[in-house]
Assembly symmetry: C2
Homo-oligomer: 307 residues x 2
């Protein structure tokens, strides 16, 4: 099959050229291109696109600026796609790093200044054979499943509908979340913040987890009851907590979470600007493959709805 010609702007970034090629496309000058991958903001976007260009991939997840600049409206025959969802795997990787660090007792080992092997023989755990509940199996939760599977953990997914999530050993609907706490080793919170999910993880839920259990939150701080969590961590009722989001956020200086030895706090940096390029490249490769195959593109922008 002849590779589909795809332009790249404003620069011919090598990582994106490779992504285009891996999706079955080929970098081409704009005049010959059927699509354009634009890895910058709207300011320098070309005023005119050749008639041959039928699809434009944008770099950001939010596209308010592109609507405001009138660019979407100016090209009614072109399909625009955003980067929405492209960074799910990056956030999932962070959640996975927090969980693995906790289960492998890295916080305590980092604090050690002598060779306490016998002690850590009893503290280092494994995810192999364990059950990990993912509360909210949207983009981030789904991206986490293959990572957990790769180390032999079993996933108990909770979604609004309860429809089976691929790769999960079992999926429960949100109204059966109550069944999770006695049945799981660890919990990853990845659900949206709503009135119904506020304090989804509270004193009662924490009390039903095990002394080895880790709670990871990469969603929003409000889903976990901070006071109840601090108490559970102080009492060693659970193994620990890995939090990329907190309530309140930012976590104020002097807050007890800063000094608890079984808490890992990262300041809402699971998807920092510096790590976005490779994730965007994966998104581009997937969309190029879909474009070449004539399939539906990911994160297609609705020109009427405005997102």
């Amino acid at each position: 099959m002849t590779p589909v010609p795809i332009a790249l702007g404003p620069h011919a970034d090598p990582m994106l050229m490779e992504a285009i090629a891996s999706g079955g496309g080929e970098w081409a000058p704009m005049v010959d291109a059927q699509a354009l991958v634009w890895a910058a903001d709207p300011d320098r976007f070309p005023d005119e696109l050749p008639e041959s260009v039928r699809w434009v991939q944008l770099y950001s997840a939010g596209v308010e600026d592109w609507f405001a600049a009138g660019i979407i409206a100016r090209h009614p025959r072109v399909v625009f796609t955003s980067a929405a969802g492209a960074f799910s795997a990056t956030v999932a990787e962070h959640a996975f790093a927090l969980l693995l660090a906790g289960v492998r007792a890295l916080p305590e080992q980092l604090a050690a200044t002598s060779w306490r092997q016998q002690e850590f023989f009893g503290k280092v755990g494994t995810l192999r054979g364990s059950t990990v509940a993912i509360l909210g199996a949207g983009g981030i939760g789904r991206a986490l499943i293959p990572m957990l599977s790769s180390v032999g953990a079993k996933v108990l997914a909770v979604t609004r509908s309860g429809l089976a999530v691929p790769g999960a050993a079992e999926t429960l609907p949100a109204d059966r979340t109550d069944e999770v706490w006695d049945r799981t080793d660890h919990v990853v919170v990845a659900a949206p913040a709503t009135a119904r999910t506020r304090h989804l993880v509270g004193a009662e839920q924490l009390g039903r987890l095990g002394a080895h259990s880790w709670v990871i939150n990469v969603a929003r701080g409000s889903l976990v009851d901070t006071d109840a969590l601090v108490k559970a961590l102080r009492d060693k009722a659970i193994g620990g907590a890995g939090l990329d989001v907190t309530d309140p956020e930012p976590l104020p200086d002097g807050h007890p979470l800063w000094s608890l030895p079984n808490a890992i706090i990262t300041p809402h940096c699971s998807n920092p600007p510096s790590v976005r390029p490779p994730a965007f490249a994966d998104h581009v490769a997937t969309n190029v493959r879909r474009f070449v195959a004539g399939e539906e593109l990911l994160a297609r922008i609705d020109p009427v709805a405005g997102y």
Copy 2:
């Protein structure tokens, strides 16, 4: 297909019963069994085995005690298998935890006591799109590959022969190890300790890695030149080091590695006794599947060679 009857001793452990079933076997009393999974030491091993038993799976990787007790010799028509290799994935999980913790800047974030988001935006990295060299792709190295693939990292494997390792983007023979250092982001040392691998990672090699690169060692301390590593860590010439093994070992109190903020030391506890049962269960499931299918069993003991 009728499940193959397999006995379990000395206890009917539920995790092992599940492993037997998942491999296509079925727990059965010894008198009816074609195989026996023995999850204990030789002391209580039955004096007689029914004629129907053709295979015995032992619990340990080293089997000197079994030879010493004369049990292997007493059952010449029975195939014995050990647990050798069963714990590769456990050690690989530890290596992966160390690497992810390093790349995600968890040591520095664990030490922080205030919300330094802007700073950590620049320090949190990702394995997605990165290259990880695995020096010595034996059992541990091979077990690590699916974990790295699950987060979108590319593997550059180095083996003695250089024969392509499944799942690796590229495999180099050991005599081309010199090409690795300029081409990889991170390095995982998983090769055996020999005269040729002593100080495989020394000053020159560390100097060719990047300022973001992490070096992980789960093999033997002698493969890394400790003095050169301490210097590279002090100079921030590399991102950091995650060491489950050290030289000298145990690492003495007051050694500089204990206090360097970019070193993670775990005291040779990547495969502690407490985490072995699920790994052994996986090994049993695989060998039951092979037994049922009439395939060659993993870790078959050679009664003449004595291991």
